[in-house]
């Protein structure tokens, strides 16, 4: 029986706590008597017979006919699946998407369905490489479909490949992949790593265009999503659900398959990273010392390649299929079952260590904008009810934040960082003055479509992701970051956690409460 999440009150006997620092980590002492550490729940037990569970989900769906009843010869079938941003880190083979897609294809073959397309639903993310696609769907599926052009990346900028389906009562335009929209059945294969994922967001975001996405990927939506991990209080989800109704009313038939994973995040010998420090064995301590010393001496590029080579031992904890909203209610409950924990009260200072990976730098560089997005977008928003840190409080995170960008994956990020953030860090101003220029830039469009670049507008979305936190927090301090890059983000650099805590007192007083979010593995806090 896995143990639930745990809040540890720090006293003098508490051992130092693990802080991630990109491709490295450190142990830090938090002030005794006024600090607490939030440890995530332990990984839930996995489903034993995954293939049987998948088959059951397809044959006994929720609020839908069984999948075989929806398949018929001569039909047009499209299978869309989540892209490389999920899960994190990438899971060991076989990826859960591969298992689900193979099961769907078996049923399609049984029904005599020939016209099948598989689409990586990457929205405005970068295209997946062949290796990445093979990892997600498996070699057998890749070799059967990719060579004849039936397995490909979604292209949101191909005007001939998009279909306009209508407008929501709020004026939100809905435009998704034409192939998906015109299919007799769209099967969406999802991995629900956090509570934000899945539901109508799968289709209305994953297969959409900029024209459509801009209606919910914007500052207003983000500042009205408290948080976007809490679907009932998330404008991001409300907008996607409204769009989902337009998609449904346009006659697009969707069979949604959602899966949840446990939080078994790091394989041996890195499994100590998921443990509570006082439970570290002698071997864990030695591994920590050896790896942190070695990483200090390892060139950045090599360290990155070591970490990005990690394949997580994630295991599937549930799979459900059928009608989008009904399925997603079950999925969300399963995510909560794994990740949700109650935390009493807010804190003056929230601390966190930012690891080497985010959804947008798989096999890539965690550039400063992604660092900001990870800290102020994702981790800050790991809450229901109220943010972990009080309004006007301080966020302290550790990360080297190098002034470094992947030139192929993130070209528009470079310009955003150099040209936009040099001018202003205010999300509202940035959106008004710069978004359109970047979104419609021919060069970024070309790189998104033909290379492996995130769309020109993507760095804006990353910045908007943190807009709620920017408005909420009194100060953001980065420990161990490149001072120039940190200042460009609008944050304060500090050389050590002690310095950062001292700097925070200007904002929150001399004896502030401190809460450390001990992630990853992931947790969703329900702040009372």
């Amino acid at each position: 029986m896995p143990r639930p999440g745990f809040v540890l009150d720090v006293d003098r006997s508490t051992p130092p706590t693990l802080f991630w620092r990109g491709e490295g980590f450190s142990l830090e002492k938090l002030p005794a008597g006024r600090s607490r550490i939030i440890y995530p729940p332990e990984p839930m037990a996995a489903i034993r017979d995954i293939d049987a569970a998948i088959r059951t989900a397809l044959l006994k769906p929720i609020d839908s006919d069984p999948l075989p009843a929806l398949l018929f010869p001569g039909m047009k079938l499209t299978i869309a699946f989540d892209d490389i941003s999920l899960p994190l880190p990438k899971m060991r083979r076989p990826d859960v998407r591969q298992r689900v897609i193979e099961a769907v294809l078996d049923l399609a073959a049984d029904a005599g369905v020939d016209d099948v397309h598989l689409i990586a639903a990457l929205a405005l993310h970068r295209r997946m490489t062949e290796d990445e696609l093979r990892h997600a769907v498996g070699d057998r599926v890749y070799d059967a479909f990719a060579p004849r052009g039936a397995l490909y990346n979604h292209d949101a900028e191909d005007p001939d490949a998009m279909s306009f389906l209508g407008t929501t009562p709020h004026g939100e335009e809905v435009e998704i992949s034409k192939r998906a929209a015109e299919s007799d059945l769209l099967v969406y294969v999802n991995i629900n790593l956090v509570a934000m994922d899945g539901g109508w967001k799968s289709t209305a975001t994953g297969l959409a265009s900029y024209r459509s996405l801009r209606h919910h990927h914007n500052v207003r939506t983000m500042t009205h999503s408290r948080s976007f991990m809490d679907q009932d209080r998330s404008e991001l989800h409300s907008s996607n659900w409204r769009m989902g109704k337009v998609i449904r009313d346009a006659g697009v038939k969707i069979f949604q398959i959602e899966t949840t994973l446990n939080t078994d995040t790091f394989p041996s010998p890195f499994d100590f990273l998921s443990k509570r420090e006082w439970e570290w064995s002698a071997r864990d301590r030695v591994t920590f010392l050896a790896s942190s010393k070695a990483l200090d001496r390892t060139p950045g590029r090599l360290a990155r390649s070591i970490f990005h080579g990690i394949e997580a031992p994630h295991q599937m904890t549930s799979v459900q299929a059928g009608e989008v909203e009904a399925v997603h209610r079950v999925t969300t409950a399963n995510v909560y079952r794994q990740q949700l924990m109650v935390v009493e009260g807010q804190t003056d200072i929230l601390t966190m260590g930012i690891p080497y990976i985010s959804p947008y730098n798989v096999n890539s560089v965690m550039n400063p904008i992604l660092v900001m997005c990870m800290a102020l977008g994702y981790y800050f928003n790991l809450y229901r009810n109220r943010p972990l840190v009080r309004e006007g409080g301080v966020l302290i995170f550790t990360h080297p934040t190098p002034w470094e960008f992947h030139p192929v994956h993130h070209p528009s990020y470079i310009d955003f960082f150099e040209q936009v953030l040099a001018d202003t860090t205010d999300p509202v101003e940035i959106e008004a003055r710069y978004e359109k220029q970047f979104a419609e830039d021919e060069w970024y469009r070309h790189l998104y479509r033909t290379s492996y670049a995130y769309h020109g507008v993507h760095p804006f979305y990353m910045w908007y992701w943190g807009s709620h936190a920017l408005a909420h927090l009194g100060r953001v301090i980065t420990v161990g970051g490149d001072p120039k890059a940190v200042r460009r983000l609008g944050f304060m650099p500090a050389s050590s956690l002690d310095d950062a805590l001292e700097m925070a007192t200007d904002v929150v007083g001399r004896q502030p409460t401190v809460t450390h979010l001990h992630v990853p593995p992931l947790v969703l806090t329900d702040v009372q």
Partner: protein, 394 residues
Amino acid sequence: MKTLQFDRKPLRYAAAFVAGTLSPGKGAGPGPLELVDIDAPVLPGKGWQRVRPRLAGICGSDLTTVDGRSSRYFEPIVSFPFTPGHEVVADTDANERVVLEPVLGCVARNILPPCPACERGDLGNCERIAFGDLKPGLQSGFCCDTGGGWSTSMVAHESQLHRVPTTMSDEAAVMVEPTACAVHAAFRARIGPGATVAIIGAGTLGLATIAAVRHFTPVGTLLAAARYPEQIRFARGLGADGVVQPHELIRLVRRATSSLAVQQQLTGGADVVIDCVGSEATITDALAMVRPRGRVVVVGMPATVKLSLTTLWHRETELCGAYAYGTETLPSGERRRTFDLAFELVQAAQLERLVSATYPLADYRRAIEHAATAGRRGAVKIAFDLRNEKERNR
């Protein structure tokens, strides 16, 4: 009189090169520049008069000379020993404040009839700068007969003098000469309505060029590269729409012009790129970011550089220099002296704010070092202040 004098001393010139290579501005120590007490220059002839410098700026070309990096091109068109200083505001014997237009053209050299360029009023293009009644010298400050601004006394031809309005400070007046170079560059750039212009460099010349392009041309988008915070602030204040670090400029131009890119070469680019640095790297960058059939104007003084001109050939780029000043043709067709336009611009853009620090002659090593490292020390224009020199007021 007290003067800084630069003599032809090859060994010391080599020492200046070494010192200047190790640390910019350090060439003033071991190099041929010396503070000496000598007789004032004699009046070379009719129309010449003695002037007493009040402020004299330190220019990039002066620094190049002091640090032993001048191009050998200049050897036949300067004469030794010379007193540097061509950005000068001075008093005449009649106690009028004047700004010196330092180019030593046909009129100053008593050459009749004047060469075609001087005839047109394009003084900077004078074809006789090594001839006539004066020893060779492209400008006052590089000619042994005239003296220069880094002294308490020099001589100037009446055709070189521009009266300073009483409302204009000395600091503003000393900015007129470099501003005239910038104004000339802006006209040489032939900027069309709504054009996108990129300016590389944000020292005195770069900042004045930003102001000149904004003031005198129908530029659309004006982009600039600046390295230091003060330069960035000035560049924005003088009219640049976007200011980035030098290595970021090509990406800014790409975005502003909706260009594509092939490796480091834009497929489109700015209509005009004005290079106020003049190094191998900046000219290469300029060629990479200018559009096909666009124009690159080199304003900063280059020495020997190695360039690939394949892009110039393939994209039919115009590469031209912009030196000094003369007479400009305004869009209306009116012809006006560049210096008159520079006076106008200095006052309109309040360019006296670019004068960051002044030094007495005796402190010349510190002054030159400051000028050579002005950007990173938050400064722009450094000048000698002669107003309190004893010899001047005797």
